[in-house]
């Protein structure tokens, strides 16, 4: 199973811990973490599986943080799916 973005958006990113995402299709406005936006940006390039996402993000962090990443990514993907920003695809 891979994840893909499900929306087009405009983003208000001022280098803070959170960003504002405006879904241009639904008109919804979301406040998401900068990390969640990082995930969305990775998926915007191409659909990725959960493990692929974890591995691509792990390249930029310490090994000690890797287990936390492996837990956080699925949780955030679930939240983004509930916001209809991403969807799972075969």
């Amino acid at each position: 199973m891979k994840w893909q973005i499900h929306a087009n958006w405009e983003v208000y990113d001022r280098g803070e811990e959170s960003v504002v995402l405006y879904d241009t299709a639904s008109g919804d406005t979301h406040l998401i973490s900068a990390f969640a936006y990082h995930l969305l940006s990775a998926l915007a390039a191409r659909p990725l599986g959960t493990q692929e996402l974890v591995e691509s993000l792990s390249a930029n962090i310490d090994n000690a943080d890797a287990p936390e990443l492996a837990t956080a990514v699925p949780d955030i993907l679930k939240q983004l799916a509930e916001l209809d920003l991403v969807s799972a695809t075969d």
């Binding site: 208000y12 001022r14 241009t24 406005t29 406040l31």
Partner: protein
């Protein structure tokens, strides 16, 4: 005024809007005479943006001491006790702008100004923004609005729409004690918000000027006796979303609303203000307006 009001010929100018007013309720006349004494009137029977009536619909409701608010001759909120008439007039006038005025991006916020720069103070009911707005108005600040920040789309200005400040319950006594200059209209008791009274807000010489003012800051006030008083910076992204939450029509504007909010938030500084002492809060607002806030 009494005759004009009774005949529905009173045309009250409030910021960019004109209200056509009609009422035979003595409390309404008393409130208007007290709180709108210095407002400009538009020509009798002239164009009005909003037609409001606060009256008893018939002899039975008069006997029952009930009145109703009509917008363009249509009943809007149902019958209410006559002794609460003045509160419902002001709420009705707010409702007119909240629901209909979509030529501006509208935030549910108080707006005050010193000199030629304004501060927008969004907040949920009960947060303490009106109490702070009233105190600032009594301390030499200009009150642009107690209820609506009207932002022309894609601009970073706000349009004045000054009306009396609505205060509730304990806040009424707080402001009476704060300054003997506070002038109040008739109080309405036992409303769904408790006791409500309105303070005359056009105390500044420029109160009735219509030119938009640039916004310099957004402050989210919160009255609290439990928390330490503090003024802290608020992130732009969180301020963006909270301001949109406090908007009457951000979603209606769709992408234009998003872009308007981007423009506005990028142009200003955003703060949280937790207070329980009005003098401290006023000093904090003055310092941040002067660019001297210690945050």
């Amino acid at each position: 005024m009494q005759g004009l009001l009774a005949r529905g010929q009173l045309r009250l100018r409030v910021g960019p809007y004109t209200y056509s007013m009609q009422s035979r309720v003595p409390l309404v006349l008393e409130g208007l005479r007290t709180l709108y004494a210095d407002y400009f009137l538009a020509p009798e029977n002239g164009f009005a943006d909003y037609g409001v009536t606060l009256d008893s619909p018939g002899p039975l409701s008069r006997l029952q001491r009930k009145v109703e608010f009509l917008f363009d001759h249509k009943a809007t909120f149902g019958l209410v006790p006559t002794r609460q008439a003045y509160a419902y007039l002001e709420w009705g006038m707010n409702w007119c702008v909240s629901v209909h005025a979509n030529e501006y991006l509208k935030l549910h916020a108080a707006v005050v100004a010193r000199g030629d720069r304004a501060i927008v103070m969004p907040g949920v009911p009960g947060a303490g923004k009106s109490t702070l707005c009233a105190a600032l108005g009594l301390s030499g600040w200009r009150v642009l609005s107690d209820e609506h920040a009207l932002v022309p789309t894609e601009s970073t200005t706000v349009v004045p729409v000054c009306r009396p400040v609505s205060l509730k319950n304990q806040s009424i006594q707080v402001i009476r004690a704060f300054s003997s200059k506070a002038v109040f209209g008739p109080a309405s008791e036992d409303t769904h918000k408790g006791t409500v009274a309105h303070m005359k807000a056009d105390l500044h010489p420029d109160s009735h000027r219509l030119d938009p003012l640039p916004v310099t800051a957004m402050v989210f006030p919160r009255y609290s006796t439990a928390d330490k008083q503090m003024l802290t910076r608020r992130s732009r992204s969180k301020s963006f979303v909270l301001a949109a939450y406090h908007s009457f029509n951000y979603s209606l504007f769709a992408a234009a609303g998003y872009h308007s909010m981007v423009n506005l938030i990028d142009a200003i500084e955003c703060y949280d203000l937790v207070y329980h002492d009005l003098d401290w809060a006023i000093k904090s607002v003055e310092q941040l307006h002067a660019g001297q806030a210690k945050v």
